[in-house]
C-alpha cells in the first residue's frame, strides 16, 4: 500500500483567491491523480499528473483554473485558482501502484470552502 498525505486538510477561502493543495506519497509512483468531490456527489477526475510531463485534464477542467505541478515521483500540487463558491469541494489526490499490482490509493482529502 501507500501512505498519502495532503496539506491543508481543510481551508476556508475568500472568493477570487487561489489555494495550493499539496500531496505527498511515501514511495515513488508514476501516476498521480487529482479528484474533486462536490457536496453530496461522487468523485470526479480532474487530471492525471505524471512526472516530467504536462498534466492531462479531463473534459470540463482546464489548466488555467487547476494548474498542477509534479516535480518528482513522490509529490504533486493542485492549485484552485480564482475561486468561487462553486469550487467548494473535497479535493483528493490518488496514486496508482501499478508495480504493486494496480491498486489505486487515495489521500485523506482537502475540504475547501469558498465564501
Amino acid at each position: 500500500s501507500a501512505v498519502i498525505s495532503q496539506k491543508p486538510s481543510r481551508d476556508i477561502c475568500q472568493r477570487g483567491t487561489s489555494l495550493t493543495i499539496q500531496c505527498q506519497v511515501d514511495s515513488q509512483v508514476t501516476m498521480m491523480f487529482w479528484y474533486r468531490q462536490q457536496p453530496g456527489q461522487s468523485l470526479t477526475l480532474i487530471a492525471t499528473a505524471n512526472q516530467g510531463s504536462e498534466a492531462t485534464y479531463e473534459s470540463g477542467f482546464v489548466i488555467d483554473k487547476f494548474p498542477i505541478s509534479r516535480p518528482n515521483l513522490t509529490f504533486s500540487t493542485l492549485t484552485v485558482s480564482n475561486m468561487s463558491p462553486e469550487d467548494s469541494s473535497i479535493y483528493l489526490c490518488s496514486v496508482d501502484l501499478r508495480l504493486a499490482g494496480g491498486e489505486q490509493f487515495f489521500g485523506p482529502g482537502t475540504r475547501l470552502t469558498v465564501l
Binding site: 461522487s42 477526475l45 492525471t48 483528493l92 490518488s94 499490482g101 489521500g107 482529502g109
Partner: protein
Amino acid sequence: SQQGEEDPQALSIQEGENATMNCSYKTSINNLQWYRQNSGRGLVHLILIRSNEREKHSGRLRVTLDTSKKSSSLLITASRAADTASYFCAPQGKLIFGQGTTLQVKP
C-alpha cells in the same frame, strides 16, 4: 476507462446483518477495485479482484466477480455501525466513479 454502477443506491440494515451491494460495468476488465468512504473523508481501498479470480476475501468482506455478466458484488458479513459509509466500485484503468451505495448500519 469506464464507470462502475453500484446498486442499490442506498441500503439500511441492522447491526449483525449482512450487506450486499452490486456493481456492473460495460467492457472487459483486468481488475476491479472496491472502496469505502466515510462521510466527508478520503477513500479507503478495500480490495482488488482480478479478472481471473472469481472470489476474494478480506476479513468480513467477500468480493465476487463474474466477468461473463460484467458484474461484481461486495458482501459485508456481521455488519457493524462502523461500516456505515458509501461504497464504490471502480473497474480498471483511469478510475471513474459512480454514485456508490450508501450503507447505513443501525445499532
